[in-house]
Every structure is written in structure tokens, then in C-alpha cells.
């Protein structure tokens, strides 16, 4: 499968010369195999996916981890949603009281957006997911709830050859004692176990995390420990804090290289990055 990072910033789109290298668009990842395309999350990076190749089957699947603004704000600017020939499937979590349609409509309706969700010209199909397993073309997808405020899932996606795990918003270290060493008590462990590639939340430095416990995100250091415990082979550190410049991110990564001697490859997720898995 081919993976393209369309946006890896967290919280809010960010611009400026100091973030040019890693990019300022919020969460969106493109996956493709055998002419099938998945988009993971619909952050502002989704606009970059407007230039993607046409799917063979005129079908696109958008998998949403959750409905925070930085993960859906690109939907209204994604051209295939306005193409009557396209069949679009959106998969995402409902809440205890509101359907996925109702929750998405909160954004895709006036006054926040001029077009109603129901008026989008594409052939739209919504699928509510929780701890689910489903197939899309060659992809086997597992979604599972993870620790983050509001209904939030992570994804484990396999093309029957390789496994890609995507948990962009996740705080497995939440609690008095921080990240547990026991996998049975580790949120997201089953999604991450032995993944060939994982993109995971690494928004904060360890010092920042102490001030932001409970906000739903991870420190870079906790993410490294989590990936090591799960046996991940290649880790992309993502959901970059909007306040972190390229220089800040590289300093944080250097600090991790000095403090931790992990044998697996880990690097910063970067807008435009392409990986053939």
C-alpha cells in the first residue's frame, strides 16, 4: 500500500516560514492499493488530496477517527464530495445520543458552512463505527476506541501484506502513574501490536505534557515507549503542536535520540511524505 501524508499538524492549521518543512495542514492521510483509496481524517490537509489520482472505481472512503474540528474541517473543501459521479463513504464514530449524520451536520450546515451535508452532490453513504471490523476493497480495517475526549477511534489497516496503524489523537499515559508497562492496560495496544508502520500522536514535549494532562494527547517520549511496547517497526511522530516550529520539532526529536536507544525507526511525520509499505 502507498501512504501519503496530506497533513500532520494538530489542533489548527498553521502557516509561516518556520513550519514550512513539516507543514501546517491538519490531519489527513491518503492510503491506496490496487486502485482503491482511503483518506484517514478530513483535516485541512484534505485539500492537498484534491490532486490525487482518480480512483478506479469512482469510490472513495473517508475514515474519521473523531469529529474534532482539526479532523473534519477539510471536508467542505474536498472536491469529490461535490462530484455527482463519485460514491463517497464516510466512516466515523457516533456518540451515545447523536448519529454520525447529526454530528457531521453540525459543521456541514449554516452558519458554519453554506452547504448542508444532505445537499452534497456526491453519492454519500455514512457508516457508524465503534469497535468494528470491516473491509474496503483490498483493505481490512479494524477500528477501536482509544483514550481521547469524546468518541474517538484509532485504525489498524491491513492490505493482507502489511499493517498500518493510525492513532493521531491519543493519550495512553492518562492517569496518576503515567504510561503503564502492562499491555493489557494500555489503550490502543491491540491496534498498534507489531504494526509495520504507525502514525501516532506526539504533540508535546515531556515538560509540556505535565501541564496538559487530560487534554487527550501524548508526549513524544510516551509515544516512543508505547510504540516500543507494541513492537512497532516504524513510527511516524505526528499531530504536531501548532506552536512548534520546524526547529522545535527537530530539537525534540534529537532529544529523544539522545535519551532513548530504540532499535526501530522513528521520525517526524511531514506533509507530502510518501511511503510505500
Amino acid at each position: 500500500m502507498k501512504i501519503i501524508i496530506r497533513g500532520s499538524r494538530g489542533s489548527i492549521p498553521t502557516t509561516g516560514p518556520d513550519i514550512e518543512n513539516y507543514g501546517g495542514n491538519t490531519s489527513c492521510i491518503e492510503l491506496s492499493a490496487q486502485g482503491w483509496y482511503l483518506l484517514l481524517d478530513g483535516g485541512s490537509g484534505m485539500r492537498n488530496a484534491n490532486h490525487m489520482e482518480k480512483p478506479l472505481h469512482k469510490r472513495l472512503d473517508i475514515l474519521l477517527t473523531h469529529l474534532h474540528m482539526d479532523h473534519i474541517q477539510g471536508l467542505g473543501f474536498f472536491k469529490p464530495l461535490f462530484d455527482p459521479e463519485m460514491e463517497i463513504h464516510i466512516w466515523g464514530p457516533a456518540s451515545s445520543r447523536s448519529s454520525l449524520h447529526s454530528r457531521l451536520s453540525t459543521y456541514l450546515s449554516p452558519p458554519l458552512f453554506p452547504v448542508y451535508l444532505r445537499d452534497l452532490p456526491c453519492k454519500l453513504n455514512l457508516h457508524e463505527i465503534d469497535n468494528s471490523n470491516f473491509e474496503i476493497g483490498p483493505f481490512q480495517v479494524q477500528s477501536h476506541y482509544v483514550i481521547h475526549p469524546g468518541p474517538t477511534v484509532g485504525f489498524r489497516i491491513s492490505d493482507r501484506k502489511k499493517i498500518f496503524t493510525y492513532i493521531p489523537d491519543h493519550e495512553p499515559a492518562l492517569g496518576l502513574k503515567g504510561l503503564t508497562v502492562d499491555p493489557a492496560w494500555m489503550s490502543g495496544f491491540d491496534l498498534a501490536k507489531d504494526a509495520d508502520l504507525m502514525l501516532h500522536d506526539a504533540q508535546y514535549s515531556s515538560a509540556e505534557y505535565l501541564l496538559k494532562k487530560g487534554w487527550g494527547h501524548s508526549s513524544m517520549e510516551d509515544t516512543l515507549h508505547f510504540a516500543a511496547a507494541a513492537g512497532v517497526k516504524h513510527l511516524l511522530l505526528g499531530h504536531h503542536d501548532p506552536g512548534h516550529s520546524d526547529k522545535n520539532l527537530e530539537e525534540m526529536l534529537s532529544d529523544m535520540h539522545l535519551k532513548n536507544q530504540y532499535s526501530f525507526l522513528y521520525e517526524l511525520a511531514k506533509e507530502g511524505m510518501e511511503i510505500n509499505l
Binding site: P93, A94, I147, P151, L174, L176, S187
Partner: protein, 131 residues
């Protein structure tokens, strides 16, 4: 072993922060976590004993009424919660293995995840000796 559901994990994290005894069970009543204050009641450390089948931890203390008559399991809050998936509360006495009798109140609630998934139950023990 598969990881526990996040609703269970978050209940454990909460229990870790509380000064009252908290017991967390799976849907069959097997004890999957208890916090430090609960260790005093059980006489066992979680780090050492780990999880306990219902047949083991259900016999560590004997629930009795004010006349020292044994209470039926089906009258106990946690057993009712596991059966009916509803919260319950009851004040009664427990006799530990060393014969010590304590008056306690137990509040139990089911862990119901989205969407309507019954995942386990929690029991909180309150010291009722001064009531």
C-alpha cells in the same frame, strides 16, 4: 492477552486516584482490578495477586446482616449489578477471614460503553462503622 476496553482502563485510572476501596470486575464477576485501599480489605496486593476468579475473591469475606445471618449472593449490590446491568447500593456487614466484623456500604454500577456494550462492573466500599 488482549488489552482491556478503554472504559475499563479509565475506571482503573480513576480508582488509582481515589482513597476509597474500588473493585473492578469483568462481566462474569471475576476481579480484574482493585486499588490500594481495596488491598487492605482483601489482604492481598494487586501487584502480587493480580486478577482473581469470582470463586476466589467472593470467599475472602462473608457478607452478613445485623443478626449475623449470611446474606444470599443475589442480595448483594455487585451481584445484582452484574445480573441486571443497573446500579445498586446496600449497607451490611462483612466478616473477614480473621473473624473481624465491619459495617460497610457498597455502591455498584455497570460499565456500559458505547453503543450499549456491557463491559464489566465497579463496586465501591464505604466505611459505615460510624453511621
Amino acid at each position: 492477552m488482549a488489552a482491556h476496553e478503554i472504559e475499563i482502563i479509565l475506571n482503573r485510572q480513576l480508582a488509582d486516584c481515589l482513597s476509597i476501596p474500588v473493585f473492578i470486575t469483568d462481566t462474569d464477576g471475576n476481579l480484574i482490578y482493585y486499588n490500594e485501599p481495596a488491598e487492605i480489605i482483601l489482604g492481598k496486593k494487586y501487584e502480587e495477586a493480580g486478577e482473581m476468579p469470582v470463586s476466589v475473591w467472593g470467599n475472602i469475606f462473608k457478607p452478613i446482616d445485623e443478626n449475623r445471618n449470611a446474606l444470599l449472593p443475589e442480595d448483594l449490590p455487585l451481584v445484582k449489578t452484574l445480573r441486571n446491568r443497573k446500579p445498586y447500593h446496600k449497607t451490611f456487614f462483612i466478616e473477614s477471614l480473621n473473624g473481624k466484623i465491619e459495617k460497610i456500604s457498597v455502591t455498584s454500577y455497570p460499565i456500559l460503553g458505547r453503543p450499549s456494550r456491557f463491559i464489566g462492573a465497579v463496586a465501591l466500599f464505604w466505611d459505615a462503622n460510624n453511621e
